[in-house]
């Protein structure tokens, strides 16, 4: 069986050598390729040399499993996330639908503010708040919320754009307001440092989260606590 699984990873390696590498991250490589005749994004998690091999294998496997579970859970609830085409558990490789013609919310905000600082991005902040509220109401905690982990595809016919959540590798299922509060705190930090002077925009995001979620008051209470803790920590140094 060992030889057999080496054979699969040979096939995968061969396939990846033809694919276009679009991101070399700390945990994974992301490629673009055609798969089963469709534009596909491949994400391969690789071993971390400093971790014990068995532990590393377990952790990597868990992240792969968590990622596909959370995608399915979101989709079942009508929250857009890429279709899963294939999971190679031996090589920790996930084959996902490519959201063709999309840009990251990060790039969209940056380029909009660059080209016309007066353009109102409030609608987008509201969309993000809504989708996160729905995700949290399904008890999915993303674990790595940034504007790079959201894709925006501009509508072809109706002009409506569609917002997708991606990169669920650190996600987990939890009903605890604390976990959701931390999720929002991580986003707040990332959002305000990636997009300077957007405090008002982020407030709009939170407001629409509150309007869309049935459990927002407990989550916001935790968010406040986490902010306070963060501030205290930075005061201590």
């Amino acid at each position: 069986a060992v030889n057999m699984s080496q054979e699969t990873s040979m096939a995968l390696q061969e396939f990846l050598s033809q694919a276009e590498l679009i991101k070399q991250g700390a945990e994974a490589r992301v490629y673009r390729a055609q798969f089963l005749g469709k534009p596909t994004i491949l994400k391969q998690r690789f071993p971390k040399r400093y971790r014990h091999p068995l532990l590393d294998e377990k952790l990597t496997h868990r992240r792969t499993v968590q990622e596909v579970r959370s995608i399915l859970r979101c989709r079942r609830a009508g929250i857009s996330a890429p279709v899963v085409y294939f999971v190679d558990y031996a090589s920790h490789c996930i084959f996902l639908e490519e959201i063709v013609g999309s840009s990251t919310v990060r790039d969209y905000i940056a380029s909009t503010r660059r080209s016309d600082a007066s353009e109102d991005l409030g609608w987008l902040a509201e969309r993000v708040g809504q989708i996160l509220a729905r995700m949290h109401d399904e008890d999915v905690v993303h674990g790595d919320l940034t504007t790079s982990n959201m894709l925006l595809r501009h509508g072809l016919e109706d002009g409506e754009s569609e917002l997708f959540l991606i990169d669920f590798g650190l996600s987990y299922i939890s009903a605890l307001p604390e976990d959701k509060g931390v999720d929002l705190y991580v986003l707040e930090k990332a959002f305000l440092s990636t997009h300077p002077s957007t405090e008002a925009l982020f407030q709009r995001l939170l407001k629409s989260y509150a309007a869309a979620s049935s459990k927002s008051s407990a989550v916001f209470k935790k968010l406040d606590e986490v902010r306070l803790r963060g501030r205290k920590r930075s005061m201590v140094g």
């Binding site: 069986a1 699969t8 096939a11 089963l36 005749g37 596909v68 579970r69 294939f86 999971v87």
Partner: protein
Amino acid sequence: MHSTHELELFPEYKVTQMLFKDVQNAAELRQCAVEGKIKGALINPTMVLVAANKAVSLQKMGKMKTRSLFSEIIFNLSPTNNISEAFKRFGSSDGDDSVLVVLVHDKDEPQLLSDITARVSGRQVPAEDVSTLTDHAKIKKLYKIPPQEEKCGTLLDAVVCRMATKDVM
């Protein structure tokens, strides 16, 4: 008429789908165990590719849940891990008048295809037409697809996601 797709991940394999309608001899076909026969109505060519790719991958790892590549394809189409249920729903049965034949082979094999055609007494139609046989209501029920899921994609997307991830759900 038939549709052939090379498995990008395993380029030494091709998957050919041949669809027949008005089939008179389904029982006979089953008897002589034409390789990998699948009932229409519940499937679509993309689902077959997803199932075949996964079957080849598991075969190479020695991790198939069933005894042959073809039974594995049928098993992979099913939303549950119950093998006999998968055959009941996705294998062909004696009274069927539509049969989809799925072949996994290494190169273009015209001989293989004409052998199949000769054996089926029925009318070959374009393999893509299998989608026109799709029973949407049946699919939604079998794969337990809630209405709101169709807001973020097609029925096919929903089915493919479930097929691809059922082993860890």
